[in-house]
């Protein structure tokens, strides 16, 4: 059996914790002390449940792909997070945290975004709940994910370009944290993945765990078995994977596979395969694996997919990796593009570039024909049309 535990200090094994400057101590402490109680309260549960159903469109379908099953000789199901309102799993967390912020009396939200999916989801949740919204986004990502920038602005969010460092997700996260330091009294920071200081990894995992909760129920209904043989998900910070894995963490049967972005290859220096080439350190307030040089400077990640272009990884995944409770494969840009092309052709689904990395795991596996394989289709590819038009 897998051992998944998180201590009260927010550690998964030796990973996690809250490595934050004193300036954030009160805010993080307030969250640590209140999030579980508020999330467990009947009012919160009722509101979130109804919003997830009627506004987001949950439960998302679990779709049996006959074509992929035929092609890879296994029983392959797709969890359709791409069909959520705003087009990805990110809304599960954004809505949960926005509701939590509101109940804590915060009127303002700050968020970071890479692909723009989390930014759009947060801007949407803020509009719905009447909160003001500031989103930091790296200048590089603003250029490559233009449709999402337009959506955020249309939804009334203030989008601030991050010009520090490498101008991608890591830097947007730094700037969002700095903004939070400077507006600590009235602002809640909605982090977009299972990263950051405790309690964020646990809280975001909780909000995303609805994915595996539904998979379990749907799979039982469709196959007579509640537990698949494999769950496969892409990993940037790791939130869709954490959500898809969560209810199978205790399963003896289910093998968990994460797909991280290898970019142009793990030896190319243009990669975001944190677990494959990284080492242990501190990033964004959490002890985890990260890409760094021997002086401890965090290095520039690269992936064709803006949502996976992150030099760290959530502490839960660092722990699952180190204890071999899940395996993580590095998928190159080319492999992801090829997998996207195949899914488009076989199933008529244009996946997000991030999600395409999960599909690229299929040709690397040896399945038994009876194996039940669930792939988390974390988002849709509308935002990636420019890239697809260029390469496919």
């Amino acid at each position: 059996m897998k051992t998944y535990t998180q201590t009260s200090d927010g550690y998964y094994g030796k990973f996690g914790g809250a490595y934050i400057p004193e300036l954030l101590f009160n805010n993080v402490d307030e969250l640590q002390k209140n999030y579980k109680r508020i999330i467990a309260s009947a009012v919160f549960q009722k509101q979130l449940k109804s919003l997830l159903k009627d506004y987001v469109g949950r439960p998302t379908p679990l779709y049996f792909s006959a074509a992929l099953s035929e092609r890879y000789k296994a029983r392959i199901f797709l969890k359709r997070e791409d069909l959520n309102h705003t087009g990805a799993h990110k809304i599960n967390n954004a809505l949960g945290q926005a509701l939590l912020a509101k109940m804590m009396g915060k009127q303002k939200i700050v968020a970071e975004t890479g692909a723009g999916q989390h930014g759009v989801a947060t801007a949407t949740a803020c509009t719905l709940l009447g909160l003001s919204c500031v989103v930091f986004m790296g200048e590089t990502d603003i250029a490559r994910q233009a449709p999402n920038v337009a959506r955020m602005k249309m939804l009334g969010a203030t989008v601030i370009p991050s010009v520090s460092g490498t101008k991608t997700l890591k830097d947007a996260t730094n700037d969002a944290i700095r903004y939070w330091i400077n507006h600590a009294a009235d602002t809640h920071y909605i982090i977009g993945s299972v990263v950051g200081p405790h309690p964020y990894p646990d809280m975001v995992t909780h909000f995303q765990s609805v994915i595996s909760k539904e998979i379990k129920r749907q799979l039982l209904k469709q196959t007579g078995e509640a537990e698949p043989d494999y769950v496969i998900a892409c990993v940037g910070g790791g939130s869709n994977a954490a959500g898809a894995f969560y209810h199978f963490l205790k399963s003896k049967k289910t093998k968990l596979i994460g797909a991280e972005a290898a970019g142009k290859g793990i030896d190319s220096h243009e990669t975001a395969a944190t677990l494959t080439i990284g080492s242990v350190g501190i990033i964004h307030g959490s002890k985890t694996y990260l890409m760094q040089n021997k002086d401890g400077q965090i290095t520039e990640p690269y992936s064709i997919s803006a949502g996976l272009d992150y030099p760290g990884i959530g502490p839960l995944h660092a722990h699952l990796h180190e204890t071999k409770q899940a395996s993580y494969l590095a998928i190159t840009d080319d492999e992801a593009l090829k997998a996207a092309k195949e899914l488009i052709k076989l199933d008529g689904i244009i996946p997000a570039l991030e999600s395409a990395h999960a599909f690229a795991v299929l040709p690397k596996m040896k399945f038994k024909p009876t194996d039940i394989v669930v792939i988390n289709l974390s988002g849709r590819g509308d935002k990636d049309m420019d890239t697809y038009l260029k390469y496919l």
């Binding site: 004193e22 400077n182 242990v280 501190i282």
Partner: protein, 260 residues
């Protein structure tokens, strides 16, 4: 040897400290700036370890870090630069940096290199107290190094006493809830409450201090001030550090302002 705490006490609420980033503006500026500062009215000096992702820092210090790293600055090199000048520096100097730099070097190695380079105190804003006590203190103690912790005007009294209990140099009071370099209104009421707590350590105010007025206010409320971003902005525009640094310090600390 006179401890930093004792030296701060003896200066009777008139301590001025300056923060600068190692390896900025040039890779070999560290020793030069340290030597120039040593001959000014500054009481102690903080040297920043440049880091790629300085979360608590505003644009000026971020930029100085980026330039320093671009210059090729590393923690290893910083220690050797300090070793080269330590005999000539009579004022206490501290290191300030982020935990990841320290972890990359290794905890034990870091503290023993501090000792060898004449560093007796360190400031690591993202190092939790609990982790310091558990994983760092044995090595820090062995090397005669001790940490300085940050508090803010909204840190709880209980936590301030806890920090006071494990500190032996001074307590670093951040002027307001802000990243470095931001002009923020000094929260006078909260600062008075803090200094009235009868702490065993002196309290030095930092973040956003950039003028003689700020410095005097910090001295009136607490035991002195630390100037970071304003000093770095000044040296980044300087063509002659030897004359510009003393001039900057004199404007802050000397009673009779020279120049204008």
């Amino acid at each position: 040897m006179r401890t930093l705490q004792k030296a701060i006490r003896e200066n009777n609420h008139n301590n001025l400290s300056v923060f600068f980033t190692a390896g900025f503006p040039r890779i070999d500026s560290t020793g030069e700036i340290l030597s120039i500062l040593n001959d000014t009215e500054v009481n102690f000096i903080e040297i920043g370890i440049p880091f790629s992702d300085p979360l608590a820092d505003g644009p000026v210090i971020q930029h100085s870090s980026t330039v320093a790293l671009h210059n090729g600055m590393t923690l290893e090199l910083l220690f050797s630069q300090l070793k080269a000048v330590k005999g000539k520096i009579t004022k206490p100097y501290l290191l300030m940096g982020y935990l990841n730099s320290l972890l990359a070097m290794g905890i034990e190695a870091f503290y023993s290199k501090c000792f060898e380079s004449g560093v007796r105190h360190i400031i690591i804003p993202d190092l939790p107290i609990k982790e310091y006590l558990k994983e760092h203190k044995p090595f820090a103690d062995k090397s005669g190094v001790s940490p300085v912790f940050l508090i803010t005007p909204s840190t709880s009294e209980k936590r301030i006493h806890e920090i006071d209990g494990i500190s032996n140099a001074f307590i670093y009071l951040v002027s307001g809830n802000t990243t470095t370099g931001n002009q923020s209104e000094m929260q006078t009421g909260s600062i008075i409450n803090i200094t009235a707590m009868k702490l065993k350590n002196p309290v030095i105010i930092g973040f956003g201090i950039n003028s003689r007025v700020d410095y005097l206010q910090a001295c009136a409320l607490a035991d002195g001030a630390i100037i970071g971003s304003a000093f770095i902005s000044n040296i980044s525009q300087s063509k002659n550090l030897k004359s510009d640094i003393p001039q900057f310090i004199n404007k802050i600390k000397t009673i009779n302002l020279i120049g204008k």
